[in-house]
């Protein structure tokens, strides 16, 4: 869940009232947010780097608010405030408009070289915007939050924002050989080639995480203006030339990516959130994007979509009985302008471009329920009549566990994942003979394979409990995993029972006796006759009673 950090006083100012921490926490809870932490820059630095470093840092109170992962429209102060104000019916949801420029429209031309690396681009202009320090910081922060979340760390979408007054269109989005790209990147004083930059950024704590996206590609994506000035090399870095500042009045926004839908959503979120500060509030200047096939599209889409949902469906899914008018009112509070139409049971809902998370009627039902208040919903028990059944394997396991304890053995609970060594080398087996499944991305050796036997876990349990009085008598009934091509996933679990006796003298007869007891419990007689069991010696360095060495006749 993304966490958005906002200045408390700025938030209250924008909300037009103050709250106590408890009141604000309550409001968040109701709306589906979580006031995660109340802190300050000073406190954060002091916690991470010690009190000394925190000297002089700001002690302005910050609210850290957890936002649901699909609510991209709430990822900054402006979005949160608008969402909460509409929820509390203090303002009406603004209508966002795409407008054509007075002069020529800004054009972004995509060349076919981008196809193999990052084929999509969208763009828009925020005209006559007025930043302040706080607004500017929030603008940058929103881009960062979008990058981390919906943009999947810039892999799917990367955002570039530029001072349009320093550039001259039309713009070209193309891909070039890294050695042919040369520009002065953001906050650097000289020019570098793309190859040099990739090296420099290997040590940059922030940018190093994005290098892999293009690193080994023959061509790198790049956007330049009609004079060849490089705006950005997505998804890594913008050019310094078109850098925006607090004083920037006209912002050119481009989003490039591998996921067209998400690029459009990201652009919509940025422009809807910050068009508030444009001279013509909530208007966004269109830009034209020409694709390699010659087709041209206008962005941002700012699409308003109409959905029709029957009031009784909402009532039926939530378990309430509200009039269609009330439901429409509830939905309107959730930023979904709604009205009752038709036969009086139909609700027409307008999905604004800020609510990309609404993709099905069930999303609308949820918003109605949130506005109604989850905790106001009457709890009822479903009349579903069913007969319970246990999973037979688990039923047997439960029965056996109790009798194992009754036989004086203590239950262990060990990990299903372990190292190759644990199940092979240490037991004197070859790993290929174990038929173990192998994990491709373990962070440490402890997670290389799924266990094929319970024995290593029990031996390790004993090793970790050597201080305990002897004897130690342990057992575990749990699953092991082996490859099995007859199963849909190519592997299956087996339920195993393993027991171990640890003392100063070997006492094989004790573990043998336990086996006999288990067989007695399972009603399997000893002996060679049909339905009986015998024990046979097995190969290997451990004299373990493999399933193979207890033979059921």
């Amino acid at each position: 869940m993304p966490t958005v950090s906002v200045k408390r006083d700025l938030l209250f100012q924008a909300l037009g009232r103050t709250y106590t921490d408890e009141e604000f926490d309550e409001l968040c809870f109701e709306f589906g947010l979580e006031l995660d932490e109340i802190t300050s820059e000073k406190e954060i630095i002091s916690k991470e780097q010690g009190n000394e470093k925190a000297q002089g840092a700001s002690d302005v109170v910050l609210y850290k608010i957890d936002v649901p992962a699909n609510r991209y429209d709430l990822l900054c102060l402006e979005g949160l405030v608008r969402g909460l104000q509409v929820f509390k019916e203090r303002i009406k949801a603004p209508v966002y408009k795409r407008v054509m420029p007075v002069g020529e429209i800004q054009k972004l031309i995509i060349t076919e070289e981008t196809a193999k690396i990052r084929p999509y681009a969208v763009a828009a202009v925020l005209r006559n915007i007025k930043f302040t320090k706080d607004r500017y910081d929030s603008f940058i922060e929103l881009q960062e939050k979008l990058h981390q979340n919906i943009c999947r760390k810039r892999a799917l979408v990367a955002i570039g924002t530029h001072d349009l007054d320093t550039l001259s269109g039309p713009f070209t989005y193309t891909a070039k050989r890294p050695s042919d790209i040369r520009f002065k990147p953001l906050n650097k004083t000289k020019e570098y080639t793309a190859c040099e930059l990739m090296n420099i950024y290997k040590n940059d704590n922030h940018l190093k995480h994005y290098l892999h996206i293009i690193e080994n590609k023959p061509l790198y994506p790049v956007i330049c203006d009609s004079n060849g000035v490089i705006l950005s090399m997505p998804p890594i870095i913008n050019g310094n030339h078109s850098k925006i500042t607090v004083n920037t009045r006209n912002v050119f926004i481009e989003c490039t990516g591998t996921d067209f839908t998400k690029a459009k959503i990201v652009l919509d979120i940025i422009v809807t959130t910050f068009s508030e500060y444009c001279e013509n509030q909530f208007t966004v200047e269109a830009a034209e994007v020409v694709f390699p096939n010659g087709k041209s599209y206008t962005f941002p889409e700012l699409a308003y979509r109409k959905e029709m949902v029957r009031a009784d469906l909402i009532n039926k899914k939530v378990g309430i009985r509200e009039t269609p008018e009330n439901l429409a009112k509830l939905l309107t509070r959730m930023y979904l302008k709604s009205e009752v139409i038709g036969d009086g049971n139909q609700i027409e809902i307008e999905i604004p471009p800020t609510r990309a998370d609404i993709i099905h009627a069930c999303d609308i039902v949820e918003d109605a329920a949130i506005a109604y208040g989850y905790n106001n919903i009457q709890m009822t028990l479903p009349k579903t009549y069913t007969i319970a059944n246990q999973f037979p394997l688990n039923k047997l396991t439960e029965l056996l566990r109790h009798d194992m304890a009754a036989a004086g053995f203590t239950e262990a609970l060990t990990f299903a994942l372990c190292s190759q060594e644990d199940i092979a080398d240490k037991l004197g087996l070859d790993i290929s003979a174990t038929k173990a499944v192998h994990i491709s991305n373990p962070k440490t050796a402890e997670f290389q394979v799924a266990r094929t036997t319970l024995l290593p876990g029990l031996l390790k349990t004993i090793a970790a409990n050597r201080k305990m009085p002897l004897p130690l008598k342990l057992f575990e009934i749990s699953d092991v995993v082996v490859k099995d091509p007859s199963r849909d996933v190519g592997a299956r679990n087996y339920r195993h029972l393993c027991a171990i006796y640890y003392n100063k003298n070997p006492g094989f007869e004790i573990i043998h006796g336990l086996l006999d007891r288990i067989m007695q419990l399972l009603d399997v007689p000893p002996g060679e006759k049909k339905g009986g069991y015998v024990i046979k010696a097995s190969e290997g360095k451990t004299c373990q009673l493999n399933p193979e060495s207890v033979i059921m006749k």
Binding site: P382, T384, A388, F391, V437, V489, R495
Partner: protein
């Protein structure tokens, strides 16, 4: 007869004594260790009101081992003085004497001896006076004679500083006759024997009362693991509520069943290498139900069933990738798919409790594998109110009654709600589970009828167990580093009988 000869003597002396006896004095008179007399006192006390013994403590000065030596042989300085003949002694030779080092410096500061460094064969020591008073020895002799009080406070503390004297606290008993005093008492029997029963002698024997303050001997026994004891209780609760157990004995799952079937898009962060264990071998699922797969693909990439879909290029290769399941909801998806294939639809209530795996950063409360508890109800016309009602019943059985629901986001449920309960210790609401109605984009491609809703909720098994048993580090509970003593000592798991037991302690 009484308990040993000392006790007998003690009783006889006490009978003759006027008022009472002091245990230390008695020991001295009998030439016994004081401890022997104390033992006799204790055993007589155990027999009832035969004697009364009052504990007294007195402080006394005693000589240390070195003090005793000086008492016998004189102080180090006196011994040094006496070893110097009138014609003097080489200093080096003097230093080799047992008392040499300590005695030399003391004798020098007492001005009993002097050193002449001008002699040819090294420094030589000579007497300064003809005879000396060994004051230290005299004082120690006084102490030995029990006359320590004759010494001044300063003199005593100087001797104490020289580690020649030590102050000891002596615990003695003042013994007097008890209300049932007798010199001829018989020993009480500790146990009833078969012989006593057959001879009938038990009728005339006095028996020692049981000591209920002592600990009993714990029986040798096996023990069940606390986490699995809690698992048993959760299973029981589900069974009491009429839920059928789903098969979950497949740790290896395809991405298809774990994610795609749940309408979790292929770019979702949970499908990242950082969060999920992928398999190298077997890397891919061999079979998928292709008809269903196509419906899932269409729903993701184009929408359908009333959904806009995610509008991205859905890839079969991605769905085939094998993983260690990240949640048991994968097993729920399989169960619901099987349910959907049964016509006509019959309502179902399912549950499961089993292991899931996450490739996450480990800490005191997170491991790479943990147990997930999941409940599912599928029926016509289920509502959010039904979900809340079922949750209320479920949590009441856990002893949790104060519940609150918060809107939340899960990729495969809508509406979704997090379940909070009021934490008495922390004085705030803490999350105890997650829940919701499965999305139609998940249910309809399976073939479930349109008016069937499926409510579901989940929580971890480890967290309530850690709260219940007061365990702060998950490694002490799960895995081979388990503290077996904790397993031996853990009480029964009776969640309903301990109202609020899951909330009693602080959690992380």
């Amino acid at each position: 007869m009484a308990d040993g000869p000392v006790a007998e003597v003690l009783l006889r002396r006490l009978e003759a004594a006027d008022g009472g006896l002091d245990s230390a004095e008695l020991a001295a008179e009998l030439g016994l260790e004081h401890q022997a007399v104390v033992g006799a006192v204790k055993s007589l006390q155990a027999l009832g009101e035969i004697i009364e013994a009052e504990l007294r403590s007195t402080k006394r000065w005693e000589l240390t081992a070195e003090g005793k030596e000086i008492d016998r042989e004189g102080s180090h300085e006196a011994r040094v003085f006496h070893s110097v003949p009138p014609e003097g002694l080489a200093q080096s030779e003097l230093m080799r004497l047992p008392s040499g080092k300590v005695g030399f410096s003391k004798a020098m500061s007492n001005k009993w001896i002097r050193v002449d460094k001008s002699t040819v064969d090294g420094p030589r020591v000579f007497r300064v006076v003809d005879s000396v008073e060994d004051e230290v020895q005299r004082r120690l002799q006084l102490v030995r004679g029990g006359q320590a009080e004759k010494l001044g406070e300063k003199e005593r503390s100087e001797l104490k500083k020289r580690k020649l004297l030590t102050e000891v606290t002596l615990k003695t008993y003042w013994i007097s006759k008890g209300s049932a005093f007798s010199t001829s008492i018989s020993k009480q029997e500790a146990e009833l024997s078969p012989e006593m029963i057959s001879s009938g002698s038990w009728r005339d024997r006095p028996f020692k009362p049981y000591n209920f303050l002592a600990h009993g001997v714990l029986p040798d026994s096996g023990h069940l693991h606390p986490l699995l004891k809690v698992r048993t209780q959760f299973r029981q609760i589900f069974l009491e509520m009429g839920f059928t157990e789903m098969p979950t004995d497949n740790y290896i799952e395809s991405s298809f069943w774990n994610f795609d079937a749940l309408f979790q898009p292929q770019q979702h962060p949970a499908r990242d290498q950082h969060d999920t264990f992928f398999l190298r071998d077997p890397a891919e699922a061999l079979q998928l139900p292709m008809d269903y797969v196509h419906r899932v693909k269409r729903t993701h990439s184009q929408g359908g069933y009333g959904s806009q879909g995610y509008k991205y290029n859905w890839k079969l290769d991605e769905a085939r990738k094998n993983i260690l399941r990240t949640h048991t909801t994968a097993a729920s998806a399989r169960a619901l798919y099987r349910l959907a294939q049964k016509k006509p639809f019959t309502p179902a209530k399912y549950f499961s409790i089993d292991r899931v795996f996450r490739n996450e950063t480990l800490d005191a409360t997170h491991l790479a594998e943990f147990h997930q508890i999941e409940g599912v109800v599928a029926d016509h016309g289920l509502t959010l109110g039904h979900l809340m009602g079922v949750l209320r019943e479920f949590f009441t059985k856990l002893g949790i009654t104060q519940l609150r629901f918060k809107p939340a986001y899960n990729p495969y449920t809508e509406p979704s709600m997090e379940v909070f309960s009021y934490h008495q210790g922390l004085k705030k609401w803490v999350e105890v589970g997650n829940s919701g109605l499965f999305r139609p984009e998940m249910l309809l491609p399976m073939g479930l009828p349109e008016n069937v809703s499926v409510i579901a909720w989940g929580l971890s098994l480890e967290r309530p167990t850690m709260i219940k048993y007061g365990i702060n580090n998950i490694r002490e509970l799960v895995g081979h580093k388990v503290n077996l003593q904790m397993v031996y000592d853990s009480p029964l798991c009776r969640l309903d009988a301990e109202q609020g037991s899951l909330q009693a302690q602080e959690t992380t």
